[in-house]
Amino acid sequence: MAELGESWTTQQLVEFLSLVSSFPDEQTAICGAVERAAEALEAEVGAVVSGGALVASTGFPADKVPTELLIAAAEGKTATIEVPGAGRCLVISVPLEEAVTGSLVLARGGEDAFSRLEANLLRGMGRVLTLALQSLRVLRDERALRKRSEEQARENATLLATLQERQRLLERLSKIQRSIVQRADLADVLDAVVAGTAECLGLDAVGLRLLDTEDEEWTMLVASRGLDSGRFPIGSRAHVRDGVSGLAVTEQRLIIARSDSCDTDLLAGLACRGLQSAMAAPILENGRVVGALTAGSRTANYHYSTAEETVLLAFAENASLALTDAKNYGTALHRGLHDMLTGLPNRVLFLDRLEHAANRALRNDPQPAVLFLDLDEFKRVNDTFGHGIGDELLIEVGQRLQGCIRPGDTVARFGGDEFAVLLENVSREEEPAIVARRIMSSLHEPFGVQGHDISVSVSIGIASQSELDDDLLRNADLAMYQAKARGKGQYELFEPAMHATLVERLNLERDLALAVERQEFELAYQPIIELATGAVVAVEALVRWRHPDRGLLAPGAFIHAAEETGLICLIGIQVLRQACAQTAAWQARYPSGTPLGVSVNLSVNQLHHSELISEVSRALDSFGLDRSSLILEITETMLMQDLERGVLTQLKALGAQIAVDDFGTGYSSLQYLQRFPIDILKIDRSFVAGLGEANEPILAQAIIDLGKSLNLRVIAEGLESEEQVTRLIDLGCQWGQGYHYSRPQSASELERLLARSGIKGWNPAPSDSLVS
């Protein structure tokens, strides 16, 4: 479709060019141009405004042309205009590069906005019109000049010559554009551009240089006229910054170099080509400078007229058009079958090769196998280092993957961080697994990307052909999924039972969505205790799912699915509101000096959710909960980026406290702890578990000391025995939670404990931790 569109544009431009070049004077050229531009774009209204005045218009009854409105539209002051009979019309306006400011403007009814292609076409038409008007003006001026002269005969001859010249120029351009439409050989088209330039300008030498695709520090001569082909053969190279064409490339504008107005280096370059002066226009491919068209004269102090500049620019533009068209046509085929980023085959090509391989396998013994690869935690790379580095990493991963396979095999990228490998002839059963291990160790070697050492772990699913109708790709995908579920950085061979797992998973996701809708989530609460007194200071709210068929489910059974589907955010909100409501009720029923605290877990998804701040604020307000009694728990891995720091700062500004859960298991650095607005560290249960025994409590001690020095409170998790409590008190830890005190229980069960042990409440001010 896009290609049809491009060729349609070129074709319309060619028609327009033929038409405009046939008009005898300015006014008819402008009127005709307006009309044809409107017809081409199916616009009801067309107009040309020049120097603030309306020069021509179509689309309104002759006696009711809204001049001011059209001028406003041309100047971009209104995006739509009301047109009797056509209703509200969308406006598009392009500049005419004339001596005075001008615009070609169209307005079209209906819903279709003007597309990029149409805008380009109209811009092209504007340029053609400018060119035609310029040559018409030259003609008019000359006519006026000659009128004063007696030499009627000579005048006629010259006029005829000018007319013929103009006709020749437009015919040349038209011919070039036709050959572009017909997809003539690119080299021929570029040669025609050079020949046309030489003929229409009548200068001594013309050359077209393009950047060397292998090394863009150099340009190559692609076509020339009038240059010494012994010294400057086609293909001869020059440095990209050399000469007039080099200047046009680097400065991306028309350059004129004459002996009286440019530096000696340029003149030396001209002199060795036997020239005294030259002008060069840049050539673009898809908007990027890729070369220059240069024309030079042997005459000393030759003056290049505006008309000559325009002619050079017009031919350069046609070269750009040809290059862009050729490039787009050539790449469209490749692009349809290859991944843009890595250049690897895409899914379409992969499936095609897989099908061929499978068909061949019907006749031969060796069977194909598919490896489905997914990079682990790749999102983290993008989040941490940015997409630029992420993309570069993907390119290098693709290259390493290619290094891991035999020449006949295929590596494809399916998008994102998904890759697939097709092994065409697997003669030994263990071969795919060997390749998988090779890939894993190859990717494990750190990649040096822009000064960062990044190593990548990958999960791989493997499927080999055993049945005729095996869907290898789907099976490998399932196996990969299983590999991920078992932990990252593994490979897994497909087994038929994986289908059942997939069905289960899909059911879970469906049920989970229903559960959110039906609010099937309940909370269990585990008290947080002041170790010295045994009083309850806060409760941690933990989510449970009352599944209609499977009963009460712990988070392990569904949180992963909730994270992946994004439902976690909705579940999180339900949890937060329930916890706030319940805590507010307890605070009312069991008043204490400082109110009972409540701790709620946040997932990384929630932290990135745009509604989080307003939801938290709304939950606090709806139930009248004292703002300082809310503790939000995050994990160390979330302490990574400024984005998260910003969110945490806002949460803190609402009055909530921030706790880092499972502290000590991640890789938080001191720096993070200082930079992020954190109030509480929760010592991971693994550090607490060893405390009752003879082990030295070095790590627990370190965390407690760290908390003290950073003015943070420390809560120990997973307390199971009186010994552990005693050791922690000795180490200076004031708070803890665990089965030793209470397992997580329903709100009603917990009430008995609250009534029995009494509530001391959670004082947000950290100063009391310094006292001990």
Binding site: E44, A62, D63, E118
Partner: protein, 397 residues
């Protein structure tokens, strides 16, 4: 007997009736058809479509005698259409009447001298029209006078987008010698006649062709006005014959060529991929050029096209439906069809009966009139309004 009549129920009253005669005597035919059409004494406009074989002066005199000089436009045809079906060598008179209509007519002669100006001159009658909420300008032109799009451009230049255009080019039963345009008491040739029609109710216009592309596109490498000399830089006739493999006699006999070309037009691609169909009128086997009824611009991309009964009839239904859409379900007073002679070529005599039946069915009992044209005019969107090989339907609400 009146062919059929349509009357409006609400607003200011309007009526439309169609009369028809195939009497070979011009005077009797004109008298009879007009008598059927004039079902009331407040007719505002007569639309006359007739065979060029009549003595047109006599026909017109009989009609005017009977109507007492009601404003009239009309033209010769390549076949007339009435509710009962299509016919040749006859006359169909359509009367628009009642205070709910407003009418203003005009004509321009010597159109080929300045086609654009002729279109502009006729379009001026729209500004004289009494103010009504719905308007259309009907143009009947001489299709042999030159590039018809120029006439449309001229009209558009005067009225702009404010008034939609509808109409067709007069015919001469495919003799391609001379066609006639009628205006009040004048029989004209090389002319444009027009009627600006204002109405209290919507006037809907539908356009469809029903052709499809054959093979690869060709580039119009050399053309001038209505002649195409080369396609893909080779003689246009050669390329045409190679692409379409016509019967042997069409390769050298101009007449068989024209018959074949009638059902194999050229499509010019438009903005939305929609084709503007151009009728290939004749071939010059000496210089290898092709002749068209309208301009084929040099440098353009074109396709050869073909059609069959099914595709042409589908287009009939679609054109009627599009014309009726602005009436929003209201019964029309009548449908006027401008149907390309080339479509008649494809459908054959039986097929065109089926086609007119289909139009009549869509009219839901309201009368139908029209003629087989040498080119069709319809402009509701954009600016291009000249068509070939197309059916244009005007639904009078």
């Amino acid at each position: 007997m009146s062919d059929l009549t349509g009357r409006s129920g609400n607003q200011q009253s309007r009526w439309l009736a169609v009369g028809q005669s195939s009497d070979s005597d011009a005077g009797r035919a004109g008298e009879a058809a007009t008598a059927q059409a004039l079902i009331a004494d407040d007719a505002q406009l007569l639309l006359v479509f007739c065979s060029h074989s009549y003595d047109l002066q006599e026909l017109l005199a009989a009609i005017n005698r009977r109507s007492g000089g009601v404003a009239l436009i009309g033209c010769s045809t390549a076949g007339e259409i009435a509710t009962a079906g299509p016919g040749d060598s006859g006359v169909v008179v359509t009367a628009f009447g009642g205070p709910g209509f407003a009418v203003s007519t005009a004509c321009a002669t010597d159109a080929s001298d300045d086609l654009r100006n002729a279109g502009a001159k006729v379009a001026h009658c729209a500004s004289a029209l009494e103010d009504k909420p719905h308007r259309a300008l009907m143009l009947l032109t001489d299709g042999l006078a030159g590039d018809q799009q120029e006439i449309v451009r001229g009209a558009y230049g005067v009225i702009g987008a404010s008034v939609p255009l509808v109409g067709g080019c007069a015919g001469d039963d495919l003799k391609m010698q001379s066609t006639y345009q009628l205006h009040n008491e004048s029989v004209l040739s090389n002319a444009v006649v027009g009627a600006a029609l204002g109405s209290e109710a919507p006037l809907g216009i539908g356009v469809r062709h029903g052709w499809r592309r054959v093979g690869d596109p060709v580039v119009v490498t050399r053309s001038s006005d209505n002649r195409v000399y080369t396609l893909n830089d080779r003689p246009a006739v050669d390329v045409y014959l190679e692409h379409l493999s016509p019967p042997e006699e069409a390769r050298h006999d101009p007449e068989s060529f024209t018959r074949f070309a009638l059902t194999h037009p050229l499509g010019l691609s438009g903005r939305s991929g929609e084709d503007h169909v151009r009728f290939v009128g004749e071939a010059n086997f000496d210089d290898g050029s092709l002749g068209f009824i309208a301009e084929v611009p040099q440098g353009g991309l074109a396709w050869f096209m073909e059609g069959d009964d099914a595709s042409v009839l589908e287009a009939t239904d679609a054109a009627c439906a599009a014309a009726l859409a602005p009436l929003e379900g209201q019964q029309p007073l009548g449908l006027i069809a401008f149907d390309c002679i080339a479509r008649r070529g494809i459908l054959g005599d039986e097929g065109i009966s089926t086609e007119v039946d289909r139009v009549a069915r869509q009219a839901g009992g309201a009368p139908v009139a029209g003629f087989y044209t040498y080119g069709e005019i319809a402009r509701t969107r954009g600016q291009s309004g000249f068509h070939n090989q197309t059916l244009v339907v005007l639904a009078v609400g």
